[in-house]
């Protein structure tokens, strides 16, 4: 089953929060996190609960994010976005907000939008972000799945039936290092058993 997308709402009105909770939870695809009513302390919450999407009433940006630092609403929004770059921030608008500030959000939900308007915005921002990471995937994989020279050395000795201790002695490295190489080998090849790794080594002409 796919993991639910967690949504955090930052909005001063409890009534509005409850309304959003009902609409968002009914869709079954989102995990509605317990909302916050002010910005102070939100930084810490972002680190701990790691929401996938933030729905934020721009009005809150006029209150300080950090009581010791005075920043403009725009700067505060930038700071929030930088705190968690993978998290889209959606503006929840029901009063006048300066256009240039609105432009800084990933998307906008108007309070008059119905259930489908709200859910469309949510799925479009979250989808955008997953698509971006999926596109990046194949680029990442090519390099990271290749065994390093040292990992290949360890693999050959594993395939020959040596224990981690014996490999550590043979290569003059610590047993801890051997085990971490073994972990990486399994992560990269997907093969867990010693017998399977021996076959892998043979098929790749690593064995004499």
């Amino acid at each position: 089953m796919k993991a639910l997308v967690s949504v955090l709402v930052a909005e001063p009105s409890e009534i509005v929060c409850e309304g959003l909770k009902t609409l968002i939870e009914a869709s079954g695809s989102y995990n509605f996190l317990s909302p916050v009513h002010q910005l102070t302390g939100l930084y810490d919450r972002l680190e701990v609960i790691r929401p996938d999407v933030l729905i934020l009433n721009p009005v809150l940006l006029s209150t300080p994010l950090n009581p010791d630092v005075c920043m403009s609403p725009k700067r505060q929004l930038t700071a929030l976005a930088q705190a968690r770059p993978s998290m889209p921030i959606v503006a929840l608008v029901y009063q006048y907000v300066e256009q240039s500030l609105l432009h800084q959000f990933d998307d906008i939900v108007d309070i008059t939008a119905g259930r489908s308007g709200l859910l469309n915005v949510l799925s479009s921002v979250t989808h955008q972000h997953t698509a971006a990471t999926e596109e990046a995937m194949p680029l990442d994989t090519k390099e990271s799945y290749e065994l390093s020279d040292r990992e290949t050395d360890v693999l050959v000795l594993v395939a020959k039936g040596l224990s981690s201790k014996e490999i550590a002695d043979a290569l003059h490295i610590s047993i801890h290092t051997v085990n971490s190489h073994r972990k990486n080998i399994t992560a990269k090849t997907g093969i867990k058993s010693v017998a399977g790794l021996a076959v892998y080594a043979m098929l790749h002409n690593l064995m004499e």
Partner: protein, 230 residues
């Protein structure tokens, strides 16, 4: 969200709709196909299978986080536990593994002999290992369990030596399809190779469930019996 598990009053056909792998369990219980719209309970009573036991096995096979309560285990008719486990062993060793081996032999004989030999060796080792594992259970654990069931205390406690060897058996079998579809030259007998991969994956998931049955049913049951006799 409350997860609904199977119960004996459900139609057997509906249970199989939820998890079609359960159809593979029927021969192990001695239940033939053609059961119509009968409930699991009705089918079981027709073939002398304890329904509460069979429903637990179906639940373990289907719901990953299913846990059996100790009270349920104490009250259940466990007379079929050993025959069921034995029947599973036979199914693996006498039907699936020879079938997979035949496929694998044909494929190994069609690729570069250097690769073929390694694959054959891997599989021969695996068969030997699993046969040895089952032999231990059949010659040592199952008779001991049957004694326990009759109130005879075994000489050594049985509860301690299970899990590790299971994990290894499952890992090895899981490695084989990966090796085949990732690293074997793809132009040799492609249809047969895909069939083989599916057969191995199916067997591997069955053996994994079998290990779960031993962890969630057999082991707690043994410790209940051992405590009763202690």
């Amino acid at each position: 969200m409350a997860v609904k598990f199977f119960n004996p009053r459900m139609r057997l056909a509906d249970i199989i709709m939820v998890n079609h792998n359960i159809i593979l369990l029927l021969p192990r219980f001695g239940i033939p196909l053609g059961f119509g719209d009968k409930s699991l309970e009705e089918v079981c009573s027709r073939y002398n299978v304890p329904a509460d036991f069979m429903v637990q096995i179906c639940n373990v096979y289907t719901f990953e986080d299913y846990q059996i309560g100790e009270e349920d285990l104490k009250q259940m008719d466990m007379s079929m536990l050993v025959p069921y486990l034995l029947a599973s062993h036979r199914y693996y060793t006498e039907e699936r593994l020879p079938h997979i081996e035949a496929h694998l032999m044909r494929i190994s004989d069609s690729v570069d002999p250097k690769y073929g030999t390694v694959l054959k060796q891997f599989f021969a080792d695996y068969r030997r290992e699993i046969a040895e594992h089952f032999r231990c259970e059949e010659e040592f654990d199952f008779p001991n369990l049957q004694n326990l069931q009759q109130g005879i205390k075994p000489k050594v406690s049985m509860s301690n030596h299970y899990e590790e060897s299971h994990a290894n058996l499952v890992d090895k079998l899981n490695d084989l399809p990966k090796i085949i579809y990732k690293y074997l030259p793809g132009n040799v007998l492609p249809e047969e190779t895909m069939e083989l991969v599916f057969d191995i994956l199916q067997l591997s998931s069955d053996i994994q469930k079998h290990a779960l049955v031993e962890d969630k049913v057999l082991l707690p049951y043994i410790s209940i019996l051992e405590r009763k006799l202690a």
